[in-house]
Amino acid sequence: MRAQKNVLEWAVFAVSAILLAGVAATLVIAGTRSGDAGPSLIVETGESEASGGTFRIPIRVRNVGDATAEQARVDVELLRDGQVIEHAELTILFVPKQSVREGRVAFRNDPRCCTLHARAAFNEP
């Protein structure tokens, strides 16, 4: 039979037990609640800013689905009268579920002249 534990050891055990129970409960609850909907990406574009002869547009990709999206390819098009005048691309390695990833694309034309259209394609890991 081993000797008694001291105060420090009991404290470490108590903290560990609470932590472990918390983590396990969180995972199980998250696991039973989340659906099987797969990844679902929403692309938002921000205000363009001119710099060095190009116009940069911030891109926010939000995954509102239940799984991670891999190799998200965001395609942004400048449209005038239904015609594509310029297009830019952005690749994001991973967009985890319920997460946001940000980036920027650059255009030669001033985006204020046109409508902006953005969409995303992705792999499911």
């Binding site: 039979m1 000797a3 050891e9 891999e70 985890p96 319920q98 997460s99 890991p125």
Partner: protein, 272 residues
């Protein structure tokens, strides 16, 4: 019997921390591990936590710091190690800016749990192995617990070694590209190296040969443990989903090579 002083306990935790980091640092610095943290479904992560806990129970019972410990003590020690593993993993991931402000809680938790599993086993091994040796702990030098205990320790060694390469793409690449005969060669090499380490290397605590049957039995059992450990780890990393059975088996064979070295050398190194 006198309980340990606070200073002695701190020393023990210090050894655990050193061991935990030694075994897990390559994985804390591996991006496939972070990815596994947010790709794996929450229930699979919970399963990983449970699997790690069972491994810790086995290791602490048969090889750990206090080999004469009773089951309740083993249960308590294992909870401590897993908890400290979670804390250590969170701390290092924070310093490496893999978790923190701007990263959603679910993503951070996944990363912490995946890394903590290896840190916790390292913690346990470190506490037992980095010990200077001495007074009361090292009682049973003889292998009191027999073949089953050896298999549990071999399993821990296999997981510890295989986990280092399992999350990488290279396993799949080798499995797909290598010819069948080479993979067969890899099987044979695994068996031969396992046998050498276990019986013929005059390794610390390696075993005396008690006839060929004994060598074949021990080597085969070790390789079997390595195959099972490899399969479990690969399954966790999602390497079997949407994959033909042949490719799944090929991956297991590829990973079983490092796992065998872990199972055989680990079996000799990890046991106190």
């Amino acid at each position: 019997m006198r309980g340990p002083t606070i200073a002695e306990s701190l020393q023990e935790y210090g050894r655990g921390l050193a061991g935990g980091l030694m075994f897990s640092l390559p994985l804390l610095y591996t991006m496939e591990m972070w990815w596994a943290g947010f790709i794996a479904a929450p229930l699979r992560l919970a399963g990983l936590l449970a699997f790690t806990y069972v491994l810790l129970l086995g290791y602490n019972r048969f090889a750990g710091m206090h080999r004469d410990a009773t089951w309740p003590e083993v249960v308590i020690d294992s909870v401590e190690e897993l908890g400290l593993g979670l804390l250590t993993s969170a701390g290092v991931l924070y310093l490496l800016q893999r978790i923190g402000p701007g990263i959603p809680a679910s993503e951070a938790l996944g990363k912490i749990v995946v890394e903590a599993s290896v840190v916790a086993i390292g913690f346990s091994v470190g506490t037992a192995q980095l010990h200077a040796g001495g007074e009361e702990e090292k009682k049973n030098e003889d292998e009191g617990s027999g073949f089953a205990a050896e298999l549990v320790i071999a399993f821990c060694g296999a997981v510890l070694f295989a986990a280092n390469v399992a999350p990488t793409e290279e396993i799949l690449m080798i499995a797909v590209e290598a010819g069948a005969f080479r993979l067969l060669g890899l099987c044979v090499a695994s068996l031969v190296i396992g046998g050498i380490v276990l019986y013929f290397s005059n390794f610390r605590r390696s075993r005396r040969v008690e006839g060929w049957l004994d060598v074949i039995r021990g080597t085969t059992a070790t390789y079997a443990v390595a195959l099972i450990a490899s399969a479990i780890i690969l399954w966790f990393f999602g390497r079997f989903t949407g994959v033909a059975p042949e490719i799944a088996i090929r991956q297991v064979v590829v990973l079983a090579f490092p796992a065998t070295i872990g199972a055989s050398a680990g079996r000799l190194l990890l046991s106190t």
